[in-house]
């Protein structure tokens, strides 16, 4: 069985895992609220990639439908998230993640 010309599916999965980890690390490292929020979007898209890969593998369109729903939800989250970020900015005049720690202990 010769190596088929297509790229083996597992590479896609590894890519999506890497993207996911990048998202997680981004969440931990970044100081700005917006970039933190973007890293979450990155994680969601990483999942979309793995969905598509599995859909292709299982020749099942359900995976792609799932991707659409994920995107819709991500959009809703973005709307709400940005609204909240604006509220935080208006209340605390800062977007630095480390400065938002009124509540502790």
């Amino acid at each position: 069985m010769h190596l088929s010309p297509e790229v083996p599916l597992v590479w896609y999965l590894l890519l999506s895992a890497v993207l996911f980890c990048l998202g997680v690390v981004g969440f931990l490292i970044k100081r700005n609220l917006i970039t933190v929020f973007m890293s979450i979007e990155l994680m969601l898209n990483a999942v979309n990639l793995s969905f598509v890969t599995f859909a292709h593998q299982w020749h099942d369109v359900k995976g792609q439908i799932f991707v659409f729903f994920v995107m819709v939800v991500a959009a809703a989250e973005a709307a709400v998230g940005l609204a909240i970020i604006i509220a935080v900015f208006r209340a605390r005049a800062t977007l630095a993640v480390d400065r938002i720690d009124l509540m502790k202990l």
Binding site: S50, D60, E77, G81, I85, A91, R92
Partner: protein
């Protein structure tokens, strides 16, 4: 089997959505300054109708609708009733608690109703996609509600924390769903149940379990994933916390039950020790951290974490006893928590004017009803017999002991002993003789409106009923548990596993 129209399967959700939308529309049409209380009453009535609808669903024959994506069974009805009950009480509570001048109250009520839709959907879903959507609806509405008190510094901070961490955890859940889809090629819970055991790539299945556990354990605020709870509970207004600490948690537990008992029963050897550790961690961390807590809401947040731990102990039980115990505990816990947070709303004030335990000193002398109710709910939280709290713990630990996890039960009960310390500190502060010059004595308590009275009455009756005649609720939980058992796996999967099952 699907003789009845699919719409009946999701009747409560439909009614709730209509109510929500109508509330939004009426709110928009009302003049900006008129009082929004009528909207609140409208939302409550809508949820009441949904409550009746879900009770009516019991008469329907069990079955799935919309090509197997949603299901009605005693299990789902139990949770629908529970969630609608919680939302009704929280709405009644907010009617009087929300100050007149707080802007866009209409949205507050609409969001609550939409949250209810999300939670009900989550419990009724038998399709991971619907699970994801239900989870997201309830989460997003609670994100916004958490930040409702925009003008205070803490409101937005609570919202942003809850939002970021919430979506972070949901991403993990989603990744888990993807891996399950990858391993079994389907996202229907029943199909997964059939194929997961014999899936070709077990690594993916177990990975999925782990990832989904992370997402759900965050939602349930169990130990390693609980860090968001205290801050968010302190920042959010008390009526919202009443909803947040009970509604989404109950729905999440319902899904967790499906996940572990229906989808991955064959992985019990994996998730049982994990839950054991998580339960012990949540109990111990929750109780220990609360010992030194002076802020009442933060203390109750830690107690919520501890109660998640007690509930997880029920998962050590095998089969229906474990499920029934967990289900009953969600009900008992919901009744207590809604009650105590209603009282904190009144006693602590909407904008947390009196946040500390010291401010509650001698409360029973100023208003005996409020004081004695606080003591009653705290006693139920401790788990004194003849209250809901006791039987919740009792069934949970009976299931644990039945399942052989005797040490877990001992740790659990010793923890509830430890928990008594901080609950008592608040109870005795309330019961203590106030020395006159104390600051707390002078600030009068807000007059208690009709809404709050009914809310408190419902919560107290629920807690007492679950304590004195738990038989009824337990029976409902048990019938639910039986329905949850996975349909026996098909006799035998064809021996040789075709590498890829190509479906047309």
């Amino acid at each position: 089997m699907n003789s009845i129209p699919d719409i009946y399967r999701i009747l409560p959700e439909v009614i709730l959505t209509i109510t929500g939308v109508l509330v939004m529309l009426i709110d928009a049409s009302l003049a900006p300054l008129t009082s929004r209380r009528t909207l609140g009453w409208f939302a409550t009535i809508g949820t009441g109708v949904a409550y009746l609808a879900s009770v009516w669903q019991l008469s329907l024959p069990m079955g799935t609708g919309y090509s197997g994506t949603v299901e009605t069974s005693p299990f789902t009805v139990f949770f629908h009733v529970l969630i609608c009950g919680i939302v009704i009480v929280t709405l009644l509570l907010s009617l009087d608690a929300l100050p007149e001048d707080s802007h866009h109250q209409g949205e507050y009520y609409a969001l609550m109703v939409f949250g209810a839709v999300g939670m009900c959907l989550l419990t009724a879903a038998t399709e991971l996609l619907v699970v994801f959507i239900g989870l997201e609806i309830s989460s997003i509405s609670t994100y916004i509600l958490a930040g409702y008190r925009k003008q205070t510094g803490k409101g937005p901070e609570a919202a942003i924390k809850y939002f970021l961490l919430g979506s972070f955890a949901t991403a993990f859940l989603l990744y888990g769903i993807a891996m399950v889809f990858g391993a079994t090629g389907t996202t229907s819970i029943y199909d997964i149940a059939r194929q997961a055991a014999t899936a070709q790539n077990q690594l993916l299945v177990e990975g999925a379990l782990a990832m989904m556990l992370v997402g759900i354990l965050f939602k349930v605020s169990a130990a390693p994933f609980h860090v968001w709870t205290p801050d968010v509970y302190e920042g959010a207004p008390s009526p919202v916390v009443a909803l947040m600490s009970t509604g989404p948690k109950a729905a999440a537990f319902a899904f967790l039950l499906r996940l572990l008992y229906e989808m991955f029963p064959h992985l019990r050897h994996l998730w049982s020790p994990v839950l054991w550790v998580v339960a012990v961690l949540s109990m111990t961390i929750g109780n220990l951290a609360a010992l030194r807590q002076q802020n009442v809401k933060r203390m109750l947040a830690y107690s919520a974490i501890a109660h998640a731990g007690y509930l997880l102990a029920a998962f050590a039980g095998f089969g229906s006893t474990g499920i029934a115990a967990a289900t009953f505990y969600t009900a008992a816990y919901a009744a207590m928590n809604v009650g105590i947070f209603a009282l904190v709303t009144i006693a602590g004030g909407y904008n947390d004017e009196r946040p500390l335990i010291a401010d509650y000193k001698g409360l029973i002398y100023r208003s005996p009803l409020l004081g004695s109710l606080i003591i009653f709910f705290l006693i139920s939280l401790i788990g004194i017999p003849f209250t809901g709290g006791f039987f919740g713990k009792f069934y949970s630990f009976t299931a644990a002991v039945g399942g052989g996890a005797v040490i877990l039960a001992v740790i659990g009960l010793l923890n509830s002993g430890l928990a008594a310390a901080y609950y008592l500190r608040l109870a005795f502060a309330v019961a203590q003789r106030p020395d006159e010059e104390d600051r707390a004595v002078r600030t009068p308590i807000a007059p208690i409106g009709l809404g709050i009275i009914t809310a408190l009455a419902l919560a107290t009756i629920a807690t007492l009923a679950l304590g004195i005649v738990p038989g009824g609720a337990l029976h409902a939980a048990e019938t639910g548990a039986h329905t949850l058992q996975p349909s026996p796996a098909p006799a035998s999967v064809p021996a040789e596993v075709t590498v890829i099952q190509t479906t047309p």
